[in-house]
Symmetry: C2
Subunit: 498 residues, 2 copies
């Protein structure tokens, strides 16, 4: 057997163990009986240990080194060697005891966060967050990165991205988004958004049927996937032919479910479009969180929150919700795009969303590069929120306790949400150059050309290139915030008549 | 680390891999999207290979040998060593290539059987069955058993049971069951069973609610388990705190679902009652198929098919099926116990059920010990069926193609179904000695003493002893067919006024 063949068997074993974790994670969030929690945690940690042991094995290290010197590998094979080198090197740098302690600290922090958030009591979460940050600093030290410590974290979630990339990018965005938000708020004070009537009822079965129809129209293959319910919607590309996503329901309005489904279907379409010839290898896996998020945001916002979309789905909407108010596509679209200075990121519109992300980015930078003490975090949060949103945060539940990420030790993760928005807008512009007026195309009700455009350019490429190389190859330009700013300024100027 | 500690880590790893197979198997039968089939098969075979590799490892063999010589092990530890010796020895005797070929032959045979059964065409299944039998004979040769070849197969499913045990047992049963059946058929010809009206409708949601109530009353903990739907009902004790069973629905009557649920809940209660201090080891696992079946048959038949049961559930029945005919507990019980010389084992009553099993046993014996050729199987089946049931088998779909087991290479499995019936009756008699009149107890609607009696005597014991030792310890007598015969003769004499 060639070294590459031997290498790929080891690689697939690791990825199979990870796929099993993914499957059990999906099951836990959707259907697991509550008393299964403890043995599930035990099994997940066993699988993680098994995968980690194989990842750090010196045998794998030897094969990677050997293959790095080989000159007969094709592009796909080289991508696998490159990605496994990255994962292997990171894993071997962390002492086994540290990995175990860190995992335990994270799971304790997550439980503490849940309680602290429910009680809106930051002090209950503070010692856990302090410990996680201190352990994360220890982790950064093991990695021995160049640049600032926070760079090590950013790179974990979007390879190649550093503070020196994000800082100017975010500054440029903020410079134009804050004034845009001001103008929108001024317009709203004279022409308020249409109010959503109280007392409406949207039955779950009808929401399910309506959203399934939309998901199918986007191209999701329900013979190779499922839609289920969970507290926090997510998408899981379990393995070839089996991609599952979830949604949740608000009985008083259909938008949470609809846009949740469009968002998760966007993620799931990426997973269904991966090249199954490369399953269980990095080459066959999604390249980054930023690119993944570009797929969900593309469908959710750039397709789903348009008058063209509402023209197509209005008959389905009326069929499933015959008692809903008689609104035309423009009004429904206006409601779906309502800008507000709300506290909660996950409910934010496209204008304020990135401001939410940047706020967390600025705080994380201070926590890791600067000298923000954990105890001062709520104050830092609330001060910045007032400055950017002009709104006082009433409590920590709606402020610095709202997101789960910090309790999971996922520092450096948030910026990928903004990258997703930027990549999506850049893809949309490029797609329009190839396919013509996208709104006109959406209005036909046949959205298959959109998916067909994304498939070879993004989905099937897996991790062949780095995220930025992939975007550049797909669009002809390096990643840039300009398409997003053009898109958002144009869209909201029209909606709010600016 | 002591050798035993090292041993138990290896044992748990093997059982974790098997638990993962169980989980993925459950998922496949209940909710998997159809295009997931191929990657699921791939993952299951990978898990099987991983588990097999660890089971045959010489390291494990060395530890077992060492521990067999240790004199400081307690009863639980000795049980684990004993059971792992058995599994290890069997596994190492089979060449790896044979295991792989056999697995492929079985999965090909299963597909062929499905088609052959649908078309009622034995000739399409014949070559596959021939190959499986020949490979099974090869397997027996590897095992180098004493006694007759078929003994090796019987022992695989119920340790310690041989042809020399089953032959007299079955002969004794047949001797009294065939005349009992004749008397019942005669009684039916004068007083027919109440007919089931056509055109009734039992909605799925109501059947689910009704059966859930019964399952809960039996003691199933829905916080530590689930009920779902599948083509063929089954129960899966996935891991501690997570036991799942399935059912299916017949919209024209509620009995299929009800007794399916009671049967599977019986299995599931066994799983929920295993000692979780011994999870992922043989000591913490169910001891045998026969004992497992005793738990399902106990609840399904000896509790569920009684007038006392119907007295308790009649109000629930009326609540969920208000349009069903107004029948009293005695009539409902009579319908639920209708004896018939039908062709299909899984729909058989308690009198004919064991005759169905024996027919397969006699044929298997001839296939492995005697000289029945596969091509003559349908004829052998139909001839014996006519002799015992007095009925002509109209086609192979209702005859020798009806069961899945042979296509799975599960020769020697069927007799455990009868053992389950015998063990159940023996447990019932013994329980009555301790708890008094069981019917009177069932009639109170509080069935918890029944479960409380079974828990320490059967469930919590896991595989500490052999199946027959377990039954003997629980009931004070060695396994015997007499309690079953007393039970069945008494019950049906009363029902049919013999």
């Amino acid at each position: 057997m060639s070294t590459y063949d031997e290498f790929i068997i080891a690689v697939k074993d690791i990825h199979r163990l990870q796929a099993l974790q993914g499957h059990l994670g999906w099951d836990r969030e959707t259907i697991m009986p509550e008393k299964g929690a403890s043995s599930r945690a035990d099994m997940l940690s066993w699988l993680a240990k098994e995968a980690h042991g194989r990842l750090v094995s010196s045998d794998l290290g030897r094969m990677i080194s050997e293959l790095e010197g080989a000159d007969d590998l094709d592009e796909d094979q080289r991508a696998n060697v490159r990605e496994m080198r990255r994962s292997h090197d990171k894993a071997v740098k962390l002492p086994e005891q540290f990995v175990a302690d860190y995992a335990r600290a994270k799971s304790e922090a997550m439980m503490a966060w849940q309680e602290a958030r429910a009680a809106s009591d930051f002090s209950a979460f503070e010692p856990h967050l302090t410990r996680l940050i201190s352990m994360t600093k220890e982790k950064i030290a093991y990695f021995e990165v160049e640049g600032t410590p926070y760079d090590a974290l950013l790179d974990e979630f979007e390879v190649g991205m550093k503070v020196s990339d994000y800082d100017p990018l975010f500054a440029g965005l903020r410079e134009r988004l804050v004034p845009l938000l001001d103008r929108i708020m001024a317009a709203k004070s004279t022409t308020p958004d249409p109010p959503w009537p109280e007392g409406l009822h949207f039955p779950i079965e009808e929401q399910t049927a309506f959203c399934t129809k939309v998901s199918e129209a986007m191209g999701f293959d329900f013979k190779a996937g499922r839609m289920d319910t969970s507290t926090h919607p997510f998408s899981a590309g379990l393995w070839p032919g089996d991609t599952r996503f979830t949604t949740r329901y608000d009985l008083s309005e259909p938008f949470s479910c609809l846009y949740g489904v469009m968002h998760e279907t966007g993620h799931a379409l990426y997973e269904q479009g991966l090249d199954s010839n490369h399953s269980y290898t990095p080459r066959g896996a999604a390249v980054s969180l930023g690119v993944h998020e570009s797929q969900s945001r593309f469908w959710e916002n750039q397709i789903g929150r348009t008058p063209a979309f509402w023209k197509v789905v209005l008959p389905w909407y009326k069929e499933h919700f015959p008692d809903a108010p008689e609104w035309d596509p423009a009004t429904l679209n206006r409601i779906a795009n309502k800008v507000s200075t709300g506290y909660v990121r996950v409910e934010a519109d496209e204008v304020t969303y990135n401001l939410h992300v940047m706020l967390r980015y600025e705080i994380e930078k201070q926590l890791f590069n600067g000298d923000l003490a954990v105890k001062d975090l709520p104050n830092a949060w609330n001060t910045m929120f007032m400055e950017w949103f002009g709104v006082e945060v009433p409590n920590d539940r709606l402020g610095c306790l709202q997101d789960i990420h910090w309790s999971m030790g996922a520092f450096g993760y948030f910026p990928t949400y903004t990258l997703g928005n930027l990549y999506a807008a850049q893809l949309l512009e490029s797609m329009a150059e190839d396919l013509g007026d996208i709104d006109a195309l959406v209005e036909t009700g046949d959205w298959s050309p959109l998916l067909a455009w994304l498939r070879p350019r993004i989905h099937a490429e897996g991790s062949k290139m780095s995220p930025s190389e992939l975007i550049e190859k797909a669009t002809g330009s390096a990643p840039s915030p300009d398409p997003f700013l053009r898109y958002v300024e144009d869209k909201y100027s029209r909606i709010y008549g600016l």
